[in-house]
């Protein structure tokens, strides 16, 4: 799946926990320098935010009208 923001997308909107978390961490491992990834979820993943901060990643979240949170993450 691709997206205007980046080609690296984890669409976790219909996944059960902890799958969204696991899939995001797996994709982060595969990113090359300068690449960004996008996580799509129907909630704000505060526990993931904490891990991202601990690992030195940056992120930016936008709530779309349909209730999707688009979380753009980069190393």
């Amino acid at each position: 799946m691709s997206h205007p923001k980046t080609p690296h997308v984890v669409d976790a909107r219909f996944m059960e926990p902890p799958e969204p978390f696991v899939k995001t961490m797996e994709m982060l491992d595969l990113l090359k320098d300068g690449e960004k990834m996008l996580l799509l979820l129907y909630r704000e993943p505060h526990p993931l935010y904490k891990v991202l901060k601990q690992n030195g990643h940056a992120y930016e979240t936008e709530l779309m009208p349909d209730g999707t949170y688009e979380i753009l993450i980069w190393p």
């Binding site: 926990p17 129907y42 909630r43 704000e44 505060h46 904490k50 009208p65 209730g67």
Partner: protein, 437 residues
């Protein structure tokens, strides 16, 4: 990888669990009170036993689970951490449990001293909670409708408890207050401003997460809590200035806002991706349907006030909204939260070397489904007992006590199995570590 799943600052399992296994016992007590009192409890909403039973359900069950669950989920849904969660849990659990017993006892026995003590204790307990959560939420920006909803719900909690405490003192000391109008307002703040707004704020997260539905659209999610709280403020002003038409307008609009939320949730549930309908799904379907009927009654009464003169109207409304709506929502969530938390804690104990057993092994879906059917049957008896109290009040009380006792048995069983699995994991882990040396 698995180590990352253990979030530091997550409260220990013991913090929320005590609330979850105590709450059903208060529902059992409410059922037993009905069994003891029989048809007298259905004579009017103002009967001492009726007020006692109502508060066993709302304070003893609902408030108990809500505060316990919030200690657990504030970090997950808002990124807010309570300081010293175990200490806070101990204070809240004791204060709520003793406070609910004092309050029910005060109503039932007509004892002013018990009522005053209950009001003081419950107000102080809730104040501890409000201070702790406000400290945790200060500096947390309202980036999602859930966080804003939670903040507004705390305001609703303040409203219902402040009003309740004033009324308890008024009742105890014979202060001249318009108690019937204030009681409606107190119920409005409790069920709309606190429970309703909190339910919505949490539903935005847990309905899509646990039932694999689409998300709640952003706009109505932002507006629902604000609309409900604004209506309650307006309703309060209308009570203060004695404007009965405005009171009715606020009640009618609150009903419409509530129906819109329930209708939207029903529509989302219809689009769920989970193939199998589990106990939580059924509990929520029951809760949403019963709430819509209850709120339609509220809307009818707002348009046509004479409707409330008919015998049993208010009781039917209360049973539908609390017993048919909020309790099923809460039990439905407990049936997801308890196995999920147990599984997460077991997963952490295994340190990625010993896998945790599946959630179904911690609490089997068949056990939850059977209890759900028993609860639905007890609810049907309760509703029918409004019309045939002489025949059905006592069977309904017994049924409700049994269904609530079954809930306790299911939750307690899950905790027992969790502890057993935890011990098994420790043994296996020790064997693995010894083998790898």
């Amino acid at each position: 990888m698995q180590a990352l799943l253990s979030f530091e600052n997550t409260p220990p399992f013991a913090a929320p669990l005590r609330f979850f296994v105590t709450a059903p016992l208060f529902a059992v007590l409410a059922g037993l009170l009905l069994l003891l009192e029989g048809p007298a409890l259905f004579a009017s909403r103002w009967m001492p036993a009726t007020l006692a039973a109502t508060h066993l359900m709302t304070v003893g069950f609902m408030l108990q689970v809500m505060l316990g669950a919030l200690i657990q989920i504030l970090p997950v849904v808002a990124g807010a951490n309570l300081k010293r969660p175990l200490l806070i849990a101990t204070i809240l659990h004791l204060g709520l449990s003793i406070g609910a017993l004092l309050l029910a006892g005060g109503f039932y026995l007509g004892q002013p001293l018990l009522l005053s003590a209950a009001a003081l204790l419950l107000a102080a307990t809730v104040l501890v909670f409000l201070v702790a959560t406000t400290l945790a939420l200060i500096g947390v920006p309202s980036t999602s409708p859930t966080i804003r909803g939670l903040k507004l719900a705390l305001f609703g909690l303040f409203g219902v408890v402040a009003l309740g405490a004033v009324m308890a003192f008024a009742l105890a000391h014979g202060w001249a207050l318009p108690l019937p109008v204030l009681t409606d307002l107190h119920a409005g703040w409790g069920l709309g401003g606190w429970a309703g707004v909190l339910l919505a704020a949490i539903a935005y997260v847990v309905v899509p997460m646990f039932q694999l539905t689409p998300g709640y659209p952003a706009k109505p999610s932002w507006w629902f809590p604000l609309a409900m709280l604004s209506l309650l403020l307006l309703w309060s002003a209308a009570v203060f200035f004695d404007l009965s038409a405005l009171i009715r307008l606020c009640q009618g609009l609150a009903a419409i806002v509530g129906i819109a939320f329930a209708g939207l949730t029903l529509r989302l549930q219809q689009q769920r991706r989970r193939a199998r309908a589990d106990a939580t799904y059924h509990y929520w379907q029951l809760g949403l349907t019963a709430s819509i009927f209850a709120l339609l009654m509220l809307l009818t009464a707002a348009l046509w006030p004479a409707a409330t003169d008919s015998a049993g109207w208010t009781l039917l409304f209360g049973i539908l909204l609390v017993g048919g709506g909020f309790l099923p929502f809460i039990v439905g969530m407990l049936y997801k939260i308890v196995p999920f938390l147990a599984w997460t804690h077991l997963q952490n104990q295994g340190q990625a070397k010993v896998p945790a057993p599946s959630m179904n092994k911690i609490l089997a879906d068949t056990d939850m489904q059977r209890q759900m059917i028993a609860y639905a049957a007890a609810l049907a008896l309760l509703l029918a007992a409004v019309f045939f109290p002489d025949w059905l009040a006592r069977p309904a009380g017994l049924g409700f006590a049994l269904a609530s006792g079954w809930l306790w048995f299911n939750l307690f069983g899950a905790i027992r199995r969790y502890r057993q699995f935890g011990r098994d994991i420790q043994v296996k882990l020790a064997a693995k570590l010894a083998g790898s040396k």
